[in-house]
């Protein structure tokens, strides 16, 4: 298994390189000059040239990219053009909030989604199924900021139960995590339902039923377990994207995560920050995928790692 992990990590290198290259090129293609954003608009041409040289922005792009890569290998992502502080330090300050929100959101989404999906599948084609699925469907049909503003208004202003902005206590986590969790649970519920139905119709479940096993045992022991593989995949995809920060939710609830940092970096044309975040997001993606693949093995002993 260790060899498998190492193999996978080696295979991830091209992906990581690709992501950094794509982000590097896109960031440099974007109009807008970080030096002009940094200096006064009427800074002298001399000042601009000086700063450009100091930041290495006057070098050819391939050289700049190589510098970025070798810096990253040494653990040095450069300094943010906006704040002048190390990119790594700025990201490290924002990561805990992003991780916390991602985990809390999934902590709500996974049980809720799987529960709804199982209930709907167990009562297929009854009103329970329809109601559950329409609810689940609503979750993916509403613009997140629309729901968020309504939640803020109802729970923050009208009922005055929860704080609406910031991250200074566990109470601050509730609204963003619920918003995120509800949206994510919808996808999971639908995935679980269709997976369950597929398994319930398969031969071995029919056999189990024929052998006289009770409905519940069949449902939970056989069907659910076999449904989990695609569900885990979806969970992986969702966590992967949550780790990149969820800009709209962070923006709305003033949550200090990576998403806001990334959008701010694009607006300020903060090249080093953009590249640093790109690298981090790619890492997160690769890591989550690896973990998902390892979980497959736990769920299905037929899968062997080689």
């Amino acid at each position: 298994m260790l060899t498998y992990v190492i193999k996978r990590l080696v295979a991830a290198v091209p992906t990581l390189l690709g992501v950094t290259l794509v982000i590097f090129s896109m960031v440099h293609l974007t109009p807008g000059d970080p030096v002009q954003v940094m200096l006064d608009v009427h800074a002298s041409a001399d000042q601009v040239a000086r700063l450009r040289a100091e930041l290495g922005l006057d070098r050819p792009l391939p050289e700049q990219y190589a510098r970025f890569l070798f810096g990253a290998l040494r653990g040095d992502l450069g300094n943010s053009l906006k704040s002048g502080r190390p990119v790594g330090a700025e990201m490290a300050e924002r990561l805990p909030a992003t991780l916390l929100l991602a985990l809390a959101g999934m902590g709500i989404a996974i049980p809720l989604g799987i529960f709804l999906g199982v209930v709907a599948a167990a009562r297929r084609d009854t009103w329970v199924d329809s109601v559950t699925m329409v609810i689940a469907m609503m979750g993916v049909s509403l613009p997140s900021f629309w729901i968020g503003i309504l939640l803020i208004y109802v729970f923050g202003v009208q009922l005055n139960l929860l704080p609406v902005a910031g991250a200074s206590s566990w109470k601050h986590l509730i609204l963003p995590a619920v918003t995120l969790g509800t949206l994510a649970s919808s996808v999971l519920a639908r995935m679980t339902r269709s997976g369950m139905l597929e398994v319930l119709n398969s031969d071995y479940v029919r056999t189990a039923r024929a052998k006289g096993l009770s409905g519940k045992v069949v449902l939970y022991k056989h069907a659910l377990k076999n449904t989990l593989i695609p569900v885990v995949t979806i969970i992986g995809v969702q966590i992967g994207s949550l780790l990149g920060g969820t800009f709209i939710i962070e923006q709305l609830y003033a949550w200090p995560g990576v998403g806001r940092l990334a959008v701010g970096a694009i607006q300020a044309r903060d090249y080093p920050m953009m590249q640093g975040i790109g690298l981090y997001v790619a890492f997160a993606y690769v890591a989550v995928n690896l973990v998902v693949d390892l979980i497959y093995g736990l769920l299905d002993p037929r899968i062997r790692y080689s």
Binding site: T30, P31, G32, D33, Q36, V37, M38, L39, D40, V41, H42, A43, S44, A45, Q47, R50, L51, K82, S83, G84, R85, E90, E93, R94, A97, I149, I152, Y153, G156, V157, N160, P163, V164, A165, G166, A167, S168, Q251, L252, Y253, A254, W255, P256, G257, R260, L261, V263, Q267, A268, R269
Partner: protein, 545 residues
Amino acid sequence: MATRKWIFGVSLLLTGMVLLSACSGGSKAGTTPADGGGSKAAGESKQGGTINYGLSDEPDTLDVQKSGMAVVNSIGWWIGGSMLAQDPESKKYVCYLCDSYEVSADGLTWSFKLKENAKFHDGNPLKAVDWKWTFERAQNPDTKAKNAGALVKEVKSVEAVSDYELKITLNNPFAPFADALSTGFLAPLSKAAAEKEDYGRNPVGAGPYAIAEWRSGERIALKRNPDFNWAPAFYQSKGPVMPDELVFQIIPEEATRIAALESGDVDITNVNYQNVDRFKSDGTFEVLSIKRQGLGLFVIFNLERPELQDPKVRQAINSGINRDAIIKSVLRGFGKPAYGPLPEVYFGYDPGVEQTGYRFDPEKAKKLLEDAGYKKGAEYYERDGKVLTLNLFTQTSGTWKAASELIQADLKEVGIKVDVQPYEWATLTAGLTNGKHDMSLMGYTYADPDVVYLFLHSSQIGQGINWSKVNDPALDRLIELGRASVDPAKRADAYKQLQALMIEKAYWAPVYNEEQFFAINKRVQGVWMHPTKGLQYMDASVQAK
């Protein structure tokens, strides 16, 4: 989202940015202590408590010399203090970190006697050598100073005559220098602290509040400086301040900020125009306002475009904009139409522009276009078979976006096709610098009418912000005359002529001047509005919840 506020150059705020921050503007509505009214600290105000402020933009750094953001000027001032401060009543610059100062007759030599009891938060005394170091750091190219660098451009030398005597010599008389010395950008720095790692997050100053904590993306907490007792004379309190903490909570989204104010999560925030009346009539809040120290909104033209080289076309656009309707919809009536390049709060403002400036007159606009050789086609005016089409750069949200849509609709009625192009700020300024615009919305905040030099002098084409590409020797002469005149009467006359010329040539289409509103939970007492510097937390106190 795109409401990041940068101040460029000599505290020039090119507002893409709907919101002024607490560093600019002027006001009659605010309550200053001398009025005796409003929510001054009552006699029984107690020490303790926290003031929570809902802040839209997070500062880039609190190393004030390295920032150009309005919010840094403001927060930096409460931490750092400044040599001078502007008296809210007389508008004169009085001593803050000095006991007295004098300026030589030629305006070149500034001598200060420093306060001997003032000291930095780290306990070090604030002496003349610290000021010398502060100025020299701002001038050192390695510092890459932003606003501070521009503010000290005319400084020739700084001399520590004794421990508590400072002499600053200028190259040329520089009218805005007194104001520069009252900004947060030129707060005194403690060398020992400023040379430490990560100083921008751990600033040290000599102001009434000291940094307690900065949690990235979340909050900046300031705490009471218990040693502070050197506030300028116009405050009620000499210090230290009453509240334990002044916390700036970073809430970028406007709807959330307002909700946080209503739910009591924050005590103070700026409120958008549609909410002003509601907060005014709500007994829980007090609403203060400040007029912008600058021109709120105007349209600049790119004079390199053949269509816009014809003054008649520019005049037609000026006549086609319904300023009153824009003020009513976008500002909900909290503004005044602008007719000239300078705001009424400025020295040298000529009230005559209100008579001579362009008024909404679509028929006149059509006639001007016909005089310029355009013929009305099916929907729009045309010349040589080409429809008169112009793009208009604007921001992606807020007042600029709404105003651009109204201008587009107004000019469509006249018969000019406008292609509105919203960009976020970095893209917008890059486009202007590269001359991709036909027209663009613009706004500024500045301390002095000399702002026209930056926007309109021919030397500022290309590398500067003369994005209109105005190159008019007569205008250049008036701008230079205004800069160099020491005699106020002469200076005022130069600006009067300049305003008349701007209207005659219609180089800009001024739209409006606005006020900025802040709602304050009455739990917090004694916060008042300085007419040019914004909200004042010196005399504030907090009632227990």
